[in-house]
């Protein structure tokens, strides 16, 4: 496949080319999606270097598994599904040991209370802070819907939960976000 046609190919065509051993197709898929895969893994993984390795591993898996992709979901959903699997596996493996820095990370650091923080920052910044402070489960679904623009069905496939669970989890995430904003002194009037 010529360079130009690889660059213009859709994700599914790229996967077909990768299955035939076309390295350039994988490099194109990587250039297109490595950023989103890295960001998704960061929702599970605090360590940036580890997230980087896991994200790269996702694409190395694609090199091996492309021939088995059945094209029943979007390629991006497939990538994020592999990413979630890898991130959870890495976490399970690491649970056997305790990282002192991580263990100490949960201790109070004398930071400002949400109310004081809210007084110091703009509303937009407060909202970003509150999104970042959401529990992992809620932050992940918010990212999948708003940043990765993933449909209800695709979120369900990536997270391996029913579609109704996806909808209620997203609703609860929004409600939790409003509660955090209220705790920060910014009542949004909902719910």
């Amino acid at each position: 496949m010529a360079v130009a046609s690889v660059m213009e190919a859709g994700d599914e065509d790229l996967v077909r080319q990768i299955a035939k051993g076309e390295r350039r197709a994988l490099e194109t898929l990587y250039a297109r999606h490595h950023r989103r895969v890295f960001h998704f893994i960061r929702r599970f993984e605090d360590n940036t270097a580890m997230a980087e390795d896991l994200a790269n591993d996702v694409f190395l898996d694609v090199w091996s598994l492309a021939g088995r992709f059945e094209f029943r979901s979007r390629v991006t959903s497939w990538l994020l599904g592999i990413a979630r699997y890898k991130a959870l596996n890495a976490r399970r493996a690491r649970k056997k040991t305790v990282d002192p820095e991580e263990a100490l990370g949960g201790l109070a650091d004398g930071a400002d209370t949400p109310e004081i923080t809210a007084q110091k920052v703009s509303k937009a910044e407060a909202l970003r802070n509150c999104i970042a402070a959401l529990p992992e489960e809620h932050r992940i679904v918010i990212d999948l819907v708003y940043y990765h623009e993933t449909s209800v069905r695709d979120v369900a496939e990536i997270l391996q939960v029913p579609e109704n669970t996806v909808k209620t989890r997203m609703f609860n995430a929004r409600r939790k976000l409003s509660a955090l904003m209220q705790a920060a002194g910014l009542d949004r009037g909902w719910p």
Partner: protein, 227 residues
């Protein structure tokens, strides 16, 4: 303007984030659009959803991807491609030599190499168990040889209990064993372990061998001395 019921409102409220992201089916998107015009409360809720979406995207945009990521991926991919080429070349040599004894035995029975590999492992287990029974029935222990230093090594070589890395393919596991002249004599055992013999191993300690194996690449996550 048509009013919406509380039940409809609750149902459509759940869909607002996907409406904002543009990922609803057209029919659902039309329902939400109509409801937003009819219900000011739902419209206010949608305004918050749009704010949330904007903030989420800003957060992601601010999160930099490590500069080393692309270079590390290129290096890892090159290594993977080279490994694949080596395996293909090795397979070509094996094909040129003709099928091995187990391939000849099982080639007609199994379509996939994985099944043939599993059958081979099962036969090995049976043979080993048969050998153990014969040894018990006989009046002497199993075959072994004594080294110049007087150390005893089973004829089968040292044995180690291994757990392969999660996700390691059967092909990669077979290649790993082949490279080390090792073979599975029992497994899978509880805990996903395999008992693996290293017939070519010189006299030495199985503990040392197990320790070496755990640091020998990423294929093995656990190695314990056996027997």
């Amino acid at each position: 303007m048509t009013r919406i019921t509380d039940e409809e409102r609750a149902e459509l409220s759940l869909l607002l984030p996907w409406h904002a992201a543009g990922t609803l089916e057209p029919a659902e998107a039309r329902r939400v659009e109509a409801a937003l015009k009819a219900d000011s409360g739902l419209a206010a809720e949608y305004a918050l959803v749009l704010e949330d979406r904007e903030a989420t995207r800003e957060l992601a945009a601010a999160e930099a991807v490590p500069s080393s990521m692309q270079a590390r991926f290129d290096a890892a991919l090159s290594a993977r491609v080279a490994g694949d080429s080596r395996r293909a070349a090795r397979q070509a040599v094996m094909d040129a030599k003709g099928p091995g004894i187990f391939a000849r035995l099982f080639g007609g029975l199994f379509d996939s190499p994985r099944m043939a590999f599993a059958a081979t492992a099962a036969v090995l287990v049976i043979l080993v168990q048969g050998g153990a029974i014969l040894a018990l029935l006989g009046d002497r222990a199993g075959p072994e040889y004594r080294t110049a230093s007087g150390e005893t090594v089973p004829a089968d070589g040292l044995q180690v209990l291994l757990r392969f890395a999660p996700g390691l393919s059967m092909d990669d596991a077979a290649a790993w064993l082949e490279e080390r002249g090792a073979r599975i004599v029992e497994g899978p055992l509880p805990g996903g372990l395999f008992r693996v013999a290293f017939p070519g191993s010189a006299a030495g300690d199985a503990s040392e061998l197990a320790e070496r194996l755990t640091t020998d690449g990423a294929a093995v996550v656990l190695a314990l001395p056996s027997g």
